[in-house]
């Protein structure tokens, strides 16, 4: 960090700045617990006759509030509704296509008000029917008498026109696409509005045409890709994604789309296989841990977890094996280890956990290594209720002494604590720790023997 000057450095390191911590061992929390007890102890006195208090202001939803009342109507009429809803929904989205009348006006001429070219109808004539009132009221505003809007599509005015004019929608209905697009191209704010409007109404085709016209190829691609979210059938979705690969994405995104397609393809295969396995009841793991949900459409890491859970030992050749997934999708080591660890720990397969971190060097010595901090490993193991013996092994691999000590103390890995204090030559702490281990246990004995060891040069 180049700009951290020396004095800054010193400032930050020397600062006693200690904000409030969200650690559960804080004094504050015990304070909270006390107050809770105090309040609870009062409950007996208070709770005997509190009916009249129910209606007091702090209860935000008293009987008679609107939300409450709606819930009542819903629940009472829910049963009678069931039969009726399907028939009505079908005819719902018949969104009438508006006849696009061919027009030779340009947008500018529309806003100019009085048309200067004699061959065209004057604007007020063209718009004198009810349409004016509905779609472009400012064109009949008495105050501004056909103001020339064509040159000042400032954002502010556009907003106003959007608000009260509905001009865009009118234009969209009446103008030929090419003209509309051409005119909008030079008016960015209006363009934004139209794009937003098309997105909201779901007029995908027109939107794509517009984006294509504007040469926003990446947006076209993304907008098309977005459609896959609406496809429920997996096979159809897979087909659709296949089609998406060729869309003009950036190189980086193309590979993401390719991965998406490959992933879904894999998931379909795995799902078919595993459902069969599960139904037949042949596989022990499926009998012991029935699947809670299908793997279809899950993220890659979830899929990896799944395959580490159900297919951990499979050879790399099969689609469902973790190593295959790791290779195909170039999953980084870190992510792989975290996921595999979580899956194997969940199954309490401590042997696999051990193997995950054990590496052999060229001399044949084994050593434990992890791409993630060992404190993280400990945390995951602990969350899966790993026994102390297993935890201990990883706690002592935590490099930072402070963290190691706090983890060891927290999870009662006595041996690690004792060894660490011994290494630190901290007699006071070690003596203090004696009262935390059980009387007459092996740990106590160990502490005593260390304390009595004359060879150690204690620092205190």
């Amino acid at each position: 960090m180049s700009r951290a000057r020396a004095d800054e450095e010193e400032y930050w390191h020397s600062s006693k700045f200690r904000a409030f911590t969200f650690d559960d061992e804080d004094d504050e929390l015990s304070q909270l617990k006390e107050s809770k007890q105090a309040v609870n102890s009062l409950r007996d006195i208070v709770d005997d006759d509190d009916d009249d208090l129910e209606r007091v202001s702090w209860s935000g939803e008293p009987v008679g509030s609107i939300s409450w009342s709606i819930k009542e109507t819903v629940s009472s009429s829910a049963s009678s509704l069931e039969g009726r809803d399907s028939s009505l929904q079908k005819g719902s989205s018949s969104y009438a296509a508006f006849p696009k009348q061919v027009s030779s006006y340009s947008l500018s001429s529309l806003f100019r008000g009085r048309n200067k070219l004699p061959s065209f109808q004057s604007l007020s004539d063209a718009l004198s029917d009810t349409g004016v009132k509905n779609y472009a009221p400012e064109l009949r505003r008495p105050k501004a008498e056909y103001k020339d809007y064509s040159n000042d599509w400032s954002p502010k005015d556009t907003v106003r026109r959007m608000q009260r004019g509905k001009v865009l929608i009118f234009l969209k209905r009446t103008l030929r696409r090419e003209i509309l697009f051409r005119e909008l191209e030079v008016r960015q704010v209006a363009l934004c509005h139209l794009i937003h409007f098309l997105k909201e109404t779901g007029e995908q085709k027109l939107l794509l045409d517009l984006l294509r016209f504007l040469d926003r190829t990446e947006e076209v691609a993304l907008s098309q890709y977005r459609e896959h979210l609406n496809i429920q059938d997996v096979e159809k979705r897979r087909e659709f994604l296949k089609g998406c690969i060729g869309l003009p994405f950036s190189a980086e995104d193309t590979s993401h789309i390719q991965d998406h397609y490959t992933l879904l393809e894999r998931q379909i295969i795995i799902e078919a296989n595993d459902r069969h396995l599960e139904m037949s009841g042949q596989s022990e793991i499926f009998r012991k841990y029935p699947r809670k949900a299908s793997i279809l459409n899950m993220p890659l890491v979830t899929t990896l977890f799944y395959s580490c859970f159900y297919h951990y030992t499979e050879a790399e050749g099969t689609f469902s094996s973790p190593t295959n997934l790791k290779k195909t999708f170039k999953i980084p080591d870190k992510q792989y280890v975290l996921t595999a660890l979580a899956a194997r720990a969940k199954l309490r397969a401590w042997g696999d956990v051990d193997a995950l971190f054990t590496t052999k060097n060229w001399l044949g010595y084994t050593k434990k290594k992890a791409p993630i901090g060992f404190h993280r490993v400990v945390e995951i193991l602990q969350r899966n209720n790993a026994p102390v013996q297993v935890l201990q092994e990883y706690v002592c691999l935590v490099e930072d002494v402070e963290t190691r000590l706090s983890l060891a103390t927290k999870y009662k890995c006595h041996d690690v604590v004792i060894e660490t204090y011994k290494d630190l030559k901290d007699r006071i702490q070690l003596t203090a720790y004696k009262c935390k281990v059980e009387r007459g246990s092996a740990e106590e004995e160990k502490i005593n023997s260390i304390l009595n060891n004359m060879q150690i040069r204690w620092k205190n």
């Binding site: 700045f17 969200f22 209860s59 509030s65 609107i66 939300s67 907003v159 993401h256």
Partner: protein
Amino acid sequence: MAAAGRRDAPEAPDFGILKRLARDQLIYLLEQLPGKKDLFIEADLMSPLDRIANVSILKQHEVDKLYKVETRPAPSASDQFCFLVRPRIRTMRYIADIVNADKMSGRSRKYKIIFSPQKMSPATSGPSTCSPWMRTSSAWSCPSSSATTSCLPRALVVLQEGDHRWINSVARALQLLNSLYGPFGRAYGIGRCAKMSYELWRDLEEESEGDGQGRKPEIGSIFLMDRDTDYVTALCSQVVYEGLVDDTFRIKCGSVDFGPDVTSSDKSIKVLLNAQDKVFSQIRNEHFSSVFGFLSQKSRNLQAQYDRRRGMDIKQMKNFVSQELKGLKQEHRLLSLHIGACESIMKKKTKQDFQEMIKAEHSLLEGFDIRESTSFIEEHIDRQVSPIESLRLMCLLSITENGLVPKDYRSLKTQYLQSYGPEHLLTFHNLKRIGLLTEQAAGETLTAVESRVSKLVTDRAAGKITDAFNSLARKSNFRAISKKLGLIPRLDGEYDLKMPRDMAYVFSGAYVPLSCKIIEQVLERRGWQGLEEVLRLLNGHEFSVSDSTAEDGAAAEAQRVVLAVFLGGCTFSEIAALRFLGKERGCKFIFLTTAITNSARVMEAMSEARA
């Protein structure tokens, strides 16, 4: 620290009027459809509606049954339908379907649609093709007002999406407030939407040819702040009590649902959080660490008061029961509720490594140990912890660092897609477009450029260079702004959160919210003089207008009332910070915002959910 001769903050104007106005307007609209009718209410309008009316008021105006607008059509037998909806195309289709179905089955009914906050052009275009009987009606806006907050419907980040329709609602709200409590003496603002709203409002005023002459102004100045100016603050984890409650339980329209883990019973309770809650009103703006002490003090007092019962004679007891007991009981309830909430918050926060996360966040804000924070985020993603949190941290990294280094951007994006689903490709695109999560242009290490520029601040050429950068893509320039405005407090020793010395306390003393700092500076200078450099870094769009006649007319008290308008959302942390500022400077802040927001809401608005 208490400034010498500190003035007390003036009283806020009476905002009950707003509530009454909204209610009257609703009743007026309901009465336009005389006779018995069924009312259909859109889900997100129910809470605001609860704040201004109740069932008995609706019944008085012949509302028969209440329904929620949802996908299921209504089975009602009533002859008249009234819809109270947001101007959305989806909802319009729902209504059109009902009308068409009636038409097909030969039923004749009367329909009325009430839009909140207003009728919007695209929305009405839907059904107008569907039914000749449709009667579209005028607007109904619902400022659900508590003592200081007026909640307009949530525009969220829609403003940045290029959809400027909500600006009109803001302008109209300003017009309303101006007519009731104005004229405002001074108006300041920053950001594109802020400027647009201001100008639109001025136009509205001109057109309506204000009748506010000769009234006594109650609000001295207004400040319009565009969320666009400061995303950083909105993305930070909140640690003041109200903010934490919002982050953890989601406060909706001033009320919150406390689940069974808070109430320590089997039912959840909906609680209205406002100044009437005597416990809440005292802790809402406090840093979370001070809350415990306060609650325990409170519960000890309560215990003592109950204990007084002992040794009372009959008469005293009678007095006690009739006068004090009710209050004590209520206080007891409130206390146990908030203690429960605190416990639940602590439980959730310790589970999700909040400590580590806050540490990473603070280093991002300070620009320290960026590498370490980046790998913290990476691990957060790899562990598949909350997708919203991961996204938030990435955005924070991007804004504070003026974009991610391309290598980091690629790798974080890839891992994010792998952890949370490939369709988030779309989310990344959304974020990039808005500038929340970007990639530094290749070969341009921004910190280098930045430091060069900040060395040459006085040099005009340097200004031009950064302008050129700004025009390429919007840069947040956070680091430079932070330096200029001193957003990261330098202090010796510990920051005493119980005796806050500046607005930084809302983020544990690590960061003064940018938006609030700007407001403070501008109010102090009565304009933007001397802030030119900051403005350039912020990308401008500032304004400062004073109306001398209004200013002279205002009483000294009223001049110290400031209306802070947040376009695109305001967080509880910002509210707390400004309230603190108000206490220090003897002025009163009133808040008007398009929505109460927090980091999760901002991120969710950007996130492309699975269909």
